[in-house]
């Protein structure tokens, strides 16, 4: 392996990207749009969920419990409360999909709570008070957010105003991801996804082009070896993958304040190895594609399983058991796991090495197969 020849090939690949301003712009902006769009759609906490409240509670001598609960709900911005007087109006709003839920406190709500509290203190059986919630549960995330907000507010009211401590308390102490939001979970996945997409596309298109225009043949008549061509491409496209990951990291930090616990260098190293492996995959598949159009057809074939089965947006555990073996064969699965461990859990090389080893083996196998595929042509 002659480093000058390898660098001559690398430089050539990067030069042609530099001349193609649109592609160069795409390479930088694509990851930025990916993380921004995914971030604003999926990321962060749920906010301003529209909910109608009908408060018919007539109160009790000891105060009006429903008012306290409503005040608790309004003090947070998860739910956007609209107070109305009619149950029918509120229910109609939900039926018309203008609101996600209608919460109804009946006239005897406070009275019922007081009776229940009294009985609880005496140790006799309790008839619980009822809050009615009419819900549009089309979106399960929103539905559970509404219910948990309501539960939370009721708990607080009971504890602070009536000194009634629920028998069990949950003491939360996160080992990892303290304060993590959903974007922290999928930002590493998006980094991996962007890197693999671009290295794969660039490599398969470039090589189909090299084959169809005869430039690859011409290269092979010079002293450059097959391995040097493959290495030259790997270096150039690995570099592109690193730039993209940096764009994603910087935009995720600036726009979404994601937290990075571990080493950024190690995270970029994982990206580099994944990029090199996918470059090899593109190279291999380029030999069975006759033109750019056929090459592009491989994209959904590679992309969809990676998005859905590699644990980018949903945890691997949610992949159905019979599809799990496919996940195990997708390199992105290991990259996402390693990136997540480094970025959220703050793990070092001593703990992510199993995933990284698989990625390195994958990259080597792809480079070796690409080189072998080229040699066979002679």
């Amino acid at each position: 392996m002659n480093s000058r020849r390898v660098m001559a090939v690398s430089r050539k690949v990067l030069q042609s990207l530099r001349h193609d301003k649109r592609t160069a712009g795409f390479l930088v902006l694509m990851p930025f749009f990916m993380i921004t769009i995914f971030g604003y759609t999926f990321g962060g906490e749920m906010k301003n969920v529209e909910v109608y409240v009908v408060n018919l509670d007539e109160g009790s001598p000891n105060g009006t419990v429903s008012d306290l609960i409503i005040a608790g709900l309004s003090s947070r911005d998860t739910l956007d409360l609209r107070l109305v007087n009619s149950v029918d109006v509120a229910r109609q709003k939900v039926a018309d999909a203008e609101a996600w839920a209608a919460i109804v406190f009946d006239a005897d709500f406070s009275e019922g709570v007081m009776t229940a509290l009294e009985m609880l203190r005496q140790g006799s059986p309790v008839v619980p008070s009822v809050v009615q919630v009419y819900m549009d549960a089309t979106n399960p995330n929103i539905a559970s957010a509404i219910l948990s907000e309501l539960q939370r507010s009721m708990q607080i009211v009971l504890v602070t105003n009536y000194n009634l401590v629920p028998p069990i308390t949950v003491s939360q102490d996160s080992v990892y991801g303290e304060g993590a939001e959903f974007i922290d979970f999928f930002a590493p996945g998006v980094m991996g996804l962007a890197a693999m997409m671009v290295t794969f596309i660039l490599s398969i298109i470039s090589f189909v082009h090299e084959r169809s225009t005869g430039t690859l043949d011409r290269l092979l008549t010079t002293p450059v070896t097959e391995g040097e061509i493959v290495a030259g491409y790997a270096i150039a496209l690995g570099f592109v993958a690193l730039i993209q990951s940096t764009v994603i990291l910087v935009s995720a930090i600036l726009l979404f304040q994601i937290q990075i616990e571990g080493s950024v260098i190690l995270a970029l190293g994982v990206i580099l190895v994944l990029g090199i492996g996918m470059q090899g995959t593109g190279f291999l598949l380029s030999s069975i594609a006759k033109n750019e159009f056929q090459a592009i057809q491989f994209l959904p074939l590679i992309l969809f399983p990676s998005i859905l089965l590699a644990g980018v947006f949903w945890p691997l555990e949610s992949v159905p058991a019979f599809l799990r073996p496919i996940s195990d064969f997708i390199p992105l699965t290991y990259a996402v796991e390693a990136l997540r461990s480094v970025m959220i859990r703050g793990w070092g090389l001593d703990r992510v090495w199993p995933d990284l080893t698989i990625l390195v083996l994958f990259a080597f196998a792809m480079l070796a197969l690409s080189t072998y595929g080229l040699k066979r042509r002679r």
Binding site: R5, K12, D20, G214, T215, R218, T222
Partner: protein, 258 residues
């Protein structure tokens, strides 16, 4: 003129490969049973400007591709500059311009030349001098930094030729180097080919222009994968009893198919 125009087959057991930069013996190539090159015996001496002529499909390009190691021969032997094909160490001493041009259209002329200079491990100063010389020869000095995709067809051809010559090779294969090149520039090319030849370089080219074939030292006439006649243009015309190479080719083809 010091060209070693010696075409009779060497006698004795061991042929002297060093005298022949291009040496093939019964070289044969088939594509799915269709014969493309049928037992080609080429002996091309050092400093010779050799022209291969023949209709499309006569096996010129295939023969060159086999020699360049891009296709594998079915049988037979070939040596370039004394080394058995496919080559390893002699690749740096050989230049090749394929018919399909094969230059990067998303790079400038300079970047294309720079790539080949890098692949042939040229040092930067030598490359700089060489580049100037070649750009002058192909008359594209002022277009050095233009993207190849912005050039005309003839200009691309010239740029491709420059890529084949950048490392100052001893032996050059040029597959139709003058297609789409205007007559004035073609004259310039031929002047340059003759200069290369005087410098002891061996040039093998294919052409469709009979007036160009006339300027070669040795012409090999190919038909159906075979060499049907070979010699100086003068001797070929005399042998066929014709006054031009085109008629001579038709005469040899007629005799061959009898």
């Amino acid at each position: 003129m010091t060209a070693n125009i010696q075409q009779e087959k060497p006698k004795g057991k061991k042929p002297d490969f060093s005298a022949y930069p291009v040496y093939t013996s019964k070289l044969r190539k088939e594509f799915d049973g269709v014969i493309a090159v049928a037992g080609l015996d080429l002996r091309i001496g050092k400093g010779v400007l050799y022209g291969m002529i023949g209709p499309n499909g006569s096996g010129k390009t295939t023969a060159i591709k086999v020699l360049m190691g891009l296709l594998r021969a079915k049988s037979g032997r070939a040596r370039l500059l004394g080394e058995r094909v496919p080559l390893k160490k002699n690749r740096r001493r050989i230049g090749y311009m394929p018919q399909e041009l094969a230059i990067y259209s998303d790079l400038t002329i300079h970047e294309n030349l720079e790539l080949y200079a890098g692949l042939f491990s040229m040092d930067p100063e030598t490359f700089q001098k060489r580049e100037k010389e070649l750009l002058t020869m192909i008359d594209l000095r002022d277009r050095k930094d233009s993207l190849v995709s912005h050039l005309s067809g003839g200009m691309k051809h010239r740029a491709s030729l420059a890529c084949a010559l950048v490392h100052d090779p001893e032996l050059v294969f040029l597959d139709e180097p003058t297609v789409g090149v205007d007559p004035e520039l073609r004259a310039g090319f031929w002047k340059y080919f003759n200069e290369l030849k005087s410098g002891g370089k061996t040039i093998v080219l294919t052409t469709h222009y009979m007036d160009e074939a006339q300027k070669c030292d040795i012409v090999g006439m190919m038909r159906l994968g075979e060499l049907i006649a070979e010699g100086t243009p003068q001797s070929l015309m005399e042998g066929a009893g014709t006054s031009n190479l085109e008629d001579a080719f038709l005469e040899y083809a007629r005799r061959g198919s009898k």
